[in-house]
Amino acid sequence: MPFIPHTDTDVTEMLAAIGAGSIDDLFDEIPPELRAQGLDGIPAGLSEMDVTRLMQGRARTDGQPLCFIGAGAYEHHIPAAVWQITTRGEFYSAYTPYQAEASQGTLQVLYEFQSMMTALTGMDVSNASLYDGASALAEAMLMAVRANRKSKSQRVLIPKALHPSYRRTARGLVGNQGIELVEVDFDRETGRTPVAQYEAAAADGEFAALVVPQPNFFGALEDVDAITDWAHQRNMLAIGVVNPVALALLSPPGDWGDAGADIACGEGQPLGMPLASGGPYLGFLTCKQDFVRQLPGRIAGKTLDADGKVGYTLTLQAREQHIRRSKATSNICTNQGLLVTAATIHMAILGADGLERVAASCHANTRRLTELLCEIPGVEPLFDAPVFHEQALRLPAPAARVLSALAADDILGGFDLGAEYPELDPAVLVCATEMRTDEDMMAFRDKLALALRHA
């Protein structure tokens, strides 16, 4: 019996201790008419050897194409040590550190993670993760509406140049609580969202908060200082959505404008998580000290034990669902603990210098890729603005057709922008992380030129 240790003797002795005639008797409180008759359609169990063969075949089917898609998920080098340690059974098969004394490993990792995230973002406090970047943004919005003491508004300004899936996810998650998201258009020339655009969108009244992505979905760099200051002048809280690797080079949200962003969140995937089809990743959420009691999710804190020795424990649990139930800041319980472990080890190994090298290399590679691709007639940057590690390119042929021709050659040639922004069609968003070599990029150029000739 897979994963069940009982011998026949065990079962006999155990049933005798219970005073039951059979295992089936243990289910005698279930009304007989409800009892399931079988599990038709579920295949018979396989040995590990057979499942291995099956899964190897499936994994091979999906190949390992050369990837030039970023669009919110990035292929970075991950030190071998990261996942070897993360998947040690002591991390992998533990649960939420409810018994702090028996979970100091996990708790100290959480505290170190929170410390690293506050260092990267320049914010005061961090929680111990949410599900992903998009759901973290939704929580950030709910938090901002609760925390804004100067405004009773339930509305939030959200740029169209924010990741389309983030906008959709956030809208679905916060809409139930009566929070209205008002979209702010981007400038067609630059792909950016200047203050004037926020102003135009906010002309009809009060807002609790605004969202500012840095870089935005197109890779374009926003004037975060001006936008943050404008938000504060209008009594809004400023929510930054940031890429943690980009923060090795870019001004951290805590430094934006005169007073800094109020909340910063984003996707932690670039910190040691493989692409893995979109998850599990981790959402991070950081904020100013003033808002710590509005922060959702688990938080580890430092304390002392009975002998005065330093230790770590979950704290401020009165915010959470298992204590406050319907009055909790969020319903979140299980978060992304194992990914936090990976991210923490990843950041410890790379350090600020390593992350900066990675960020610079991604940026330089994307710049190089842009030069190479723009050698092809009709391919040109869609916007005129400084970018970080993504580039929107106009194509001289329908993007979907070109991308599928490239895919047939095992090249994932970017994200089809027209699918999300029909007004930009035909265009693609490309990215070359530090993992792409010059040869990779030249191969992409050559195949793209070929695909365009036949398009």
């Binding site: 019996m1 994963f3 240790p5 002795e13 049933l15 219970i18 295992i23 243990l26 409180e29 409800l34 399931a36 579920i42 295949p43 169990g45 899964m55 999906d62 390992q64 194409p65 998920a73 292929e75 040590a81 059974g89 991390f91 992998y92 098969s93 649960y95 550190p97 702090a100 028996a102 100091q104 490993g105 929170q114 410390s115 690293m116 320049g122 599900y131 992903d132 998650l173 609580q177 923060l247 692409l275 893995a276 089809s277 990743y281 002392l304 009975a306 020795k309 139930r325 979140i332 319980c333 299980t334 194992l338 990914l339 923490t344 410890a348 390593g354 992350l355 290399s361 330089a364 994932l412």
Partner: protein, 486 residues
């Protein structure tokens, strides 16, 4: 010592980052970072040693019996990790085209189908990232259903007082109000109170069955009838699905929507607090509202269904469609078990729980519901011990750690005083369970002799009992670099 405290300026792990610092002078100076983030500067070995040592300060399933009630801490087969980590799966970008996704999509589609069969539901979406997100998706679908019928008055969700805290919190996040229904003294929902509570404002009820008090609610058909007759829907919290896998199906009990915790029943890792995965299953009338993406099969090809294919969907729960790596692990586990293995899960989980309960009762401990069968978990109340020795459930829990057992869940559900919620799971051998009974018996003897032995526990762990009050009053949530003077 923190990794940050081991930092020395200029120390790096040069094998892990690009050799050259690329030129980024084209980035506008005004948008650049002014000073480097205070991340640790350590060697690769220092990091490896530090985190290996930290791991050794954890209890885990791989090292200890971990009978944490309601969390289903069973063995996480290693193959599920290694096979979900095959290069083809790890390298796949979430926006990869369907032409490069047929392998994983086949796994996801088969997982959807298997989950439909074991739960008796009409359709399944794998999108929610954890149990609580599955709950939220579930109640959002209930709301979408009533709204689509123009039934806007249904804004109240009923939740038994024994429910997980996530239930009322999820209902609030979906824009509902919450009304609690009491649990009767036999552990079943108080059906008379439920009949009084339902009405035209009732959107639905969220129910865990077997409930968090560790018994199967025998009135489930009457509950379903009561709520349905009042026009409400039934939500099944699948936290305790391990107890009934292959024995009784939520769909057959009359539930309209359910979530499953794959990190419980399907043995994906708990990871020190996640990731989980919380697929949702629905009856036919709720199918249009399922969260996206879904995988459908058309002949030999698999396709995604997204917002544009499913206009009535409640939408997307995360940016990229869910915790795919966890779904793969659950799929692998399901294939290893097969139909027969799944039935055995609930059989042996229930056998272990009832055996452990019987032995603890025989040893003189008090069951909260002594007349009832245990499901896959049960509650012991230490009210008597608290009164006689002045030692509470937390003292027992801390002392258990010294004996090498992770403590059961304490003080949940809230309606049973001084409770331990014990869930041994099917993974544990009779010897483990006997060892636990022995430890509990010894601890009670210690309590009798000298209650302080328990009150000061634990003694053998990396730290003694931690001061939670201090943690909350003198908040210290992040290490900060020393400020430069002047």
């Amino acid at each position: 010592m923190l990794i940050q405290e081991q930092s020395r300026p200029g120390r790096t792990a040069p094998a892990q980052a690009p050799l050259h610092m690329a030129d980024v002078s084209d980035l506008p100076a005004g948008l650049r970072r002014q000073r480097r983030a205070a991340l640790p500067e350590v060697s690769e070995l220092q990091a490896v040693r530090h985190y290996t040592r930290l791991s050794q300060q954890n209890f885990a399933i791989d090292t200890h019996f971990y009978p944490l009630g309601s969390c289903t801490m069973k063995y996480n087969p290693r193959a599920c990790n290694s096979l979900a980590s095959l290069p083809g799966f790890l390298a796949r970008h979430p926006a990869a085209p369907e032409s490069h996704s047929q392998g994983i999509m086949a796994c996801l589609h088969e997982l959807q189908d298997m989950l439909k069969i074991v739960t008796g539901m009409h359709a399944v979406s794998l999108a929610p990232a954890a149990g609580a997100q599955g709950e939220l998706a579930g109640v959002m679908m209930i709301r979408a259903y009533h709204d689509a019928r123009g039934d806007h008055a249904r804004r109240e969700i009923l939740v038994p007082d024994a429910a997980h805290g996530t239930n009322p919190a999820s209902a609030i996040m979906a824009g509902f109000t919450v009304r609690e229904i009491p649990t009767g003294s036999n552990g079943d929902v108080d059906i008379a109170a439920l009949r009084d509570a339902v009405g035209p404002q009732t959107a639905g009820i969220m129910l865990t069955n077997p409930s968090t008090v560790g018994v199967f609610d025998r009135n489930i058909q009457a509950i379903a009838e009561t709520v349905h007759e009042a026009g409400g829907l039934l939500y099944y919290d699948g936290a305790n699905l391990n107890a009934i896998l292959g024995k009784v199906r939520p769909g057959d009990m009359g539930f309209d929507v359910i979530h499953m915790n794959l990190h419980k029943t399907f043995s994906t890792p708990h990871g020190g607090g996640g990731p989980g995965a919380g697929p949702v299953g629905v009856s036919k009338r709720l199918e249009p509202y399922l969260p996206v993406p879904l995988v459908i099969r058309d002949g030999d090809a698999y396709h995604w269904q997204v917002e544009s294919d499913r206009p009535e969907s409640i939408g997307r729960m995360t940016a990229f469609g869910g915790n795919m790596g966890i779904l793969l692990r659950a799929y692998i586990y399901a294939r290893l078990l097969g139909a027969e293995g799944m039935r055995r899960v609930s059989e042996y989980a229930t056998l272990n729980a009832n055996y452990l309960l019987a032995r603890l009762k025989a040893a003189g401990f008090t069951a909260a519901y002594p007349e009832r069968r245990a499901s896959h978990e049960f509650i012991v109340t230490l009210k008597k011990e608290a009164k006689e020795y002045g030692t509470n459930a937390m003292d027992f829990a801390k002392r258990l750690l010294d004996y090498g057992f992770h403590a059961p869940t304490t003080y949940f559900p809230l309606l049973v005083p001084e409770c331990l919620l014990v869930e041994p799971t099917e993974s544990e051998s009779k010897e483990s369970l006997d060892g636990f009974v022995e430890a509990m018996t010894k601890i009670r003897a210690e309590a009798q002799d000298n209650p302080d032995t328990l009150k000061q526990a634990p003694y053998t762990l990396p730290v003694r009992r931690l001061d939670d009050v201090r943690a909350a009053r003198q908040l210290d949530l992040a290490w900060k670099p020393a400020q430069v003077e002047g």
